[in-house]
Symmetry: C2
């Protein structure tokens, strides 16, 4: 069911590329336009047939589009948004797929022209893999998508975006910028920090003996460093606080080990199992 005449996706990586095929498959747009910085990506997107047209030119790419979706590392999203805002048609909706929301939304709202709506989206889908080689039309199916409510949120645009992400099979929720960034700090950014710290703590160990447990807990440390640097920087206060909470939990285990306190270890292990099993 067509929701938009023309949709432009900026950034054709795992998220952008998967969005393109998902939109085409669900027939949510009359036309899907892809924009990338790289000629090889443009060519590959055309070969794969995931977009109706593709261009290196940002301004040409967003012209006459009803919906523009920015997929890029967080700080890049802000740069690109500022460049394209003056080129969007009246009534256009601009959104993004960035993993932090407060810095993005406040920066973009600060220079929003009249007649254009900007809303922050965060589809909780992805992988440690990146690029068009790993795109998946079902990447969004069944996952959560958070839309943020901020100062300039246009209700009609919010309701249209809710339908859009919902049609891709996502469970859509609306929350404030602060609530989003706090929740994601604990449930996504902290696990990433833990995974990175764990890898780095084992730098000089016999890595050939690493089995399933180590592989699972460190899998996400393979994610793109530049992408995660931007996430960390734009949510740094929440993440620093959550790292502190994680260190306190580690200290509880450490103290129980030092004191040979079997009962306390069992309590901590049982509590963690109960939490993990509840997901």
């Amino acid at each position: 069911m067509k929701l938009f005449n023309r949709v432009t996706i900026i950034g054709l990586g795992l998220i952008g590329g998967s969005l393109a095929i998902a939109i085409k498959k669900k027939k949510l747009a009359g036309e899907v336009v892809g924009v990338s910085r790289r000629k090889t990506t443009i060519d590959r997107a055309r070969t794969l047939g995931i977009v109706d047209s593709a261009t290196l030119d940002l301004k040409k790419g967003v012209k006459d589009s009803d919906l523009v979706i920015l997929t890029a590392p967080v700080l890049k999203i802000i740069d690109i948004a500022k460049k394209i805002l003056p080129c969007l048609k009246k009534g256009a909706i601009l959104t993004d797929a960035g993993s932090t929301k407060e810095v993005i939304v406040k920066s973009v709202e600060g220079c929003l022209p009249a007649g254009i709506s900007f809303l922050g989206s965060h589809p909780l889908a992805g992988s440690e893999r990146s690029g068009l080689d790993h795109i998946d039309k079902d990447l969004f199916k069944g996952a959560h998508c958070i839309l943020t409510r901020a100062g300039k949120t246009n209700k009609a645009a919010l309701s249209k975006l809710k339908r859009f992400w919902g049609k891709l099979g996502m469970k859509v929720e609306v929350m404030s910028l602060k609530k989003h960034d706090k929740a994601l700090s604990a449930l996504s950014h902290l696990p990433h920090a833990a995974s990175v710290a764990l890898s780095n703590a084992c730098a000089k160990k016999d890595l050939r003996l690493a089995a399933g447990g180590f592989k699972d807990t460190t899998r996400i440390a393979s994610g793109k460093p530049e992408l995660w640097r931007d996430i960390f920087i734009t949510n740094r206060k929440n993440i620093a606080k959550d790292i502190d909470a994680l260190k306190k939990e580690l200290t509880k285990i450490e103290k129980a080990l030092e004191r040979n306190n079997s009962a306390e270890l069992l309590r901590l292990l049982r509590k963690a199992k109960k939490i993990r099993d509840s997901i």
Copy 2:
């Protein structure tokens, strides 16, 4: 190819049960006997046909066996070993599949009768799942198995056990008790502690928003608490030291966040990716 006339497996959980079918499939024993504390497990093992016979009686189960393999939580392994040592036939080999080695091997060697060989084995295979419902004949294929060398190690028994685990498709290595416990502390027990601490740190968060990253990093926290309590207690000094190292790595990230140090964050993220990608 038959290596033993009679093999007894004590404990019919994920490891014991998978061992039983793997041994039968590879025809490594004339007869496979299973021992469990629970009548229902005995019945289930018989129904599944994974053992030639099964019994609740430890002494009856190990009688006349050429190889006895103890699969149980670490401290239980020691208890059971002490009970069965006087019942083993001359020339029998006793081994285990416990995740820590120094405490087990020293305890059992301390009461080893003449004519019996005890060797510590650690097949690095497993899962957060447990019980006969999850057994897998290929659980050991391609994984590492560490055999430990200690004071009373009998060379002929060591060489026979090397062949045994090798025939199950495992990459066998021999190392000292201390080296084993140190390596496993960093690469298996520390990730478990991290996973437990991460779950506990997020106890009061919006867990319905937990996506792939959180699920992967905390998956192993679903493991059996009693099993992990024993591992933690019998390798407590190494694990406490490694938790300290992990906290130091977390502090590096925390400091970089507090100082808004983008370059340092990128360095830490790149280092971790390099380590993880090398596995």
